[in-house]
Symmetry: C2
Subunit: 206 residues, 2 copies
Amino acid sequence: MLKLFFAAGACSLASHIALEEAGATYETERVDLSKGQQRSPEYLRVNPEGRVPALVTDRGVLTQSPAILAFIAQSFPEAGLAPLDDPFAFADMQAFNVWLTSHVHIAYAHVFRPARFGDEAAAEAMKVKALETLSESFARVAERLGDGRAWVHGGFTISDPYLYVFERWAGRVGVALPEAAQAHMRRLDARPATRRALQAEGLTPV
Amino acid sequence: MLKLFFAAGACSLASHIALEEAGATYETERVDLSKGQQRSPEYLRVNPEGRVPALVTDRGVLTQSPAILAFIAQSFPEAGLAPLDDPFAFADMQAFNVWLTSHVHIAYAHVFRPARFGDEAAAEAMKVKALETLSESFARVAERLGDGRAWVHGGFTISDPYLYVFERWAGRVGVALPEAAQAHMRRLDARPATRRALQAEGLTPV
């Protein structure tokens, strides 16, 4: 039985939605970041990095959203969440997901968790730069979506719930989402799988 | 025909080695970062992000090392560069590669390219933190490798040349590599595929 460790509204929400889209049978366990539960001895035994998401499988624990998302897509091929039989399209999708991790998520982390990257005196300069990076990143996303395509890669894939998480966060840091990204976020909000994952995490559509 | 855009010794070296390991037929084109060629109009037409690596394929351009490396492994299955028929093992490998991108490479970027993340005043604090992160990261790598395993995941995979790049960089920022990581780097150095890629980039073993 799969078990997803998540924090409400964190990037683990993408894996949570993907499990719902896949029709997977799984359990969840909430990690309360506000109480520092990600640093508890119990959780560090699951994921020594002290981060969410972690997906416990019969074979061991998986971490890192792009890897977990691809695992869900490959484990439930009938759900059609990734172009599994097309190495180019799969790599193109993974490139987008890795960009979200290493560029977009990292920019947010400079705002939310500056102590990971510098000291208190550096926090303001890092925040200024991170907000620039986020604005540029969403402009790039909007360009992809702006030609009327509903989803990042044309058809719905695991990239869509992953992007959705970062679209949800934009308001918290005062970054204005371009219209095409707002519309993408609303399309995610409207999907039953998203609704179920949000409800399970105690969240509401944006 | 595949074409790899690389900068000498940059993270593109991992893809370069992987192409050699795969026995691929491919061309290369050097991007001289010291001359800012990654920002030239010609290169930005290849990769609008202005980063290496970029792998040009018949279908389009791929970016992001974990995605390119997986594409190479999937395109040349006979080379055995990844556990392609085992979604759990594949995801575990990809989790490691995404961690290298978003944790280890990002830490180096705070030292080499602080302007991406803050201003001049913040650079020193970011460097201090980044060197801590790198030391912790290599300690974690050494723990994985320390039980006598030659390669990150037991058998040789695309994670090994990718890790090798970051092991090579450690000396440049004054981070001491644990013995197990040094031994891993030397094992990569000794492989004919690594030798060929190094020579093509005008580099030498460490």
